[in-house]
Amino acid sequence: MKVKKFFLYLFLTVVSFISIFPFLWMVISMTNKSVEITKGRLLPGNYLIENLKNLFASYDIATALWNSFIVAFVTTILAILVASLAGYGFEIHRSRGKNIVFNILLLSLMIPFASIMIPLYRMFGKITPYAPAIGIDTLAAVILPSITTAFLIFFFRQNTKMFSKELIEAGRIDGLSELGIFFRIFIPSMKNTYAAAAIITFMTSWNNYMWPLVILQSTEKKTIPLLISNLGAAYAPDYGVIYTAIVIATLPTALIFFLLQKHFVAGMMGSVKG
């Protein structure tokens, strides 16, 4: 029995170590010189300030962070608002053909992004002369296609099933409008669901790579994954600077995740149970 236990813990420790190691490695490397990193130095050094200085001097990482933040923030707010209204509507209101529409919606989950990327790109290309503000090479063009996702609507619909219908009745009797019920009763009582959805959307959007790569062209519009990818492709890379950039790019999503972890788990449970 004891031997078995030992192997169980050994196995879990090894798997955990493998999972954590790349994080340790990037944080350690952030404080070392490029040469030492190639030598495989595993101890923290005192090169952090230097790496930070070099990073901010050679690359416009501040702009990239700002662009990513705008994209992720706006996408999250709009996507959640649209998806929760839709999910709520699908679950609460009875109308004919509702399930057919919902099933068609779910089909879009199967559409790979790569297969709609070219028509989307051409679509934005066509509207660029008429509406340059939302055309190619704008952050708006990055945001627009990710506002509506069938996954989020599905997620909200599943979670709405747990929402008590009596509360809606009570709201109606108290004379609240349908939107009033939604904003005053539904949103406050579904905090966990909103938190989980917000984490997922913010992370996906912050880390989105393929579509920004296609639609953004000028350097000052680039988001953080594009910048990291560029750094990684450099011919003579300064590893210290690259790892510093990667840590900075990972921090926001990691922080958000850890701060909201409890809500996240609670919110996910709701969607699995349904």
């Binding site: 790349p22 790569a114 070219i118 296609p145 590893y239 990691a254």
Partner: protein, 268 residues
């Protein structure tokens, strides 16, 4: 909105797939693009690579996730919270960021090789990124690292919904932990296993960020995926949107076929 950004482009892509030409000068060519697929070596390697990832990576990852979830679900395990968080951690990283880290870890003079040589497992460094076979292995290791914890969370969540008395009954009937795993856990989790299989299949068929940033599809298209080929056809080579759209329909058709098979196999 879904119509504008998903279904309308799908129809556009279908129309495009019957056209050919450079950039925006497109003409109808009928099924020419579809015939071209069969004679296109890059497309065939992209298709082959994607299937290799699918056949090896998805089962390994899901099985590992299931085993880990079962182990971490046992209530008398110490440091449960720590193990769970640690194993889920990779799912928080951006695909591009972790790809770049893996590219350096697996470089010929990278840390993995230094370690393997230190423990005398290999005598000379493995060319992880530049050897056709090892490059595929690297990609598979990378995706497994990133997504195992993510899938584990789904299993953990549904394991908590299984009634404990079923396990007690199995124990009384004399089932060993391993028998319990195969005879109780797996059948009980069937719906969620189906769900993770389908999402992982769809994810693998769309694989892009990792190959783009770790191997750039190389060496000599040994790791290229369908998504990256579509990207290359449209934005790297002389743009041929029509042919790229044809290739993109192949992914869609594959996803539909594989999802149907998975539904049928699971018997729901």
């Amino acid at each position: 909105m879904i119509c504008i950004f998903y279904f309308y482009p799908m129809i556009q892509a279908l129309i495009l797939s019957f056209q050919s030409g450079m950039g925006n000068n497109l003409q109808y060519v009928g099924f020419d693009n579809y015939f071209r697929l069969f004679k296109d070596p890059t497309f065939i390697s992209a298709l082959k690579n994607t299937f290799i990832y699918l056949i090896f990576q998805v089962p390994i990852m899901l099985f590992l996730a299931l085993v880990l979830a079962t182990l971490l679900n046992s209530p008398n395990l110490k440091f449960r919270g720590f193990f769970r968080t640690a194993i889920f951690l990779p799912a928080v990283t951006s695909l591009v960021a972790y790809s770049v880290i893996f590219k350096y870890l697996f470089a010929t003079d990278g840390l993995i090789n230094q370690f393997l040589m230190m423990i005398h497992l290999v005598h000379e460094p493995i060319n992880w990124i530049t050897h056709p076979f090892w490059a595929k292995v690297t990609i598979i290791i990378a995706i497994t690292w990133r997504w195992t914890g993510y899938n584990m969370v789904f299993y953990l969540a549904s394991l908590q919904n299984i009634d404990k008395s079923i396990y007690e009954a199995a124990k009384i009937d004399g089932a060993s932990p391993i028998q319990q795993f195969f005879l109780v856990t797996i059948p009980m989790l069937k719906p969620i296993i189906l769900f993770t299989t389908i999402t992982s299949t769809i994810g693998t068929l769309q694989l892009f960020d990792e190959v783009m940033n770790i191997t750039y599809g190389g060496p000599g298209n040994a790791t290229i995926t369908i998504s990256q080929y579509i990207y290359n056809l449209s934005f790297e080579y002389t743009p041929d949107f029509g042919y790229a759209a044809t290739v993109s329909y192949v992914i869609l058709i594959l996803i539909v076929i594989l999802s149907i098979i998975q539904f049928k196999v699971s018997g729901d």
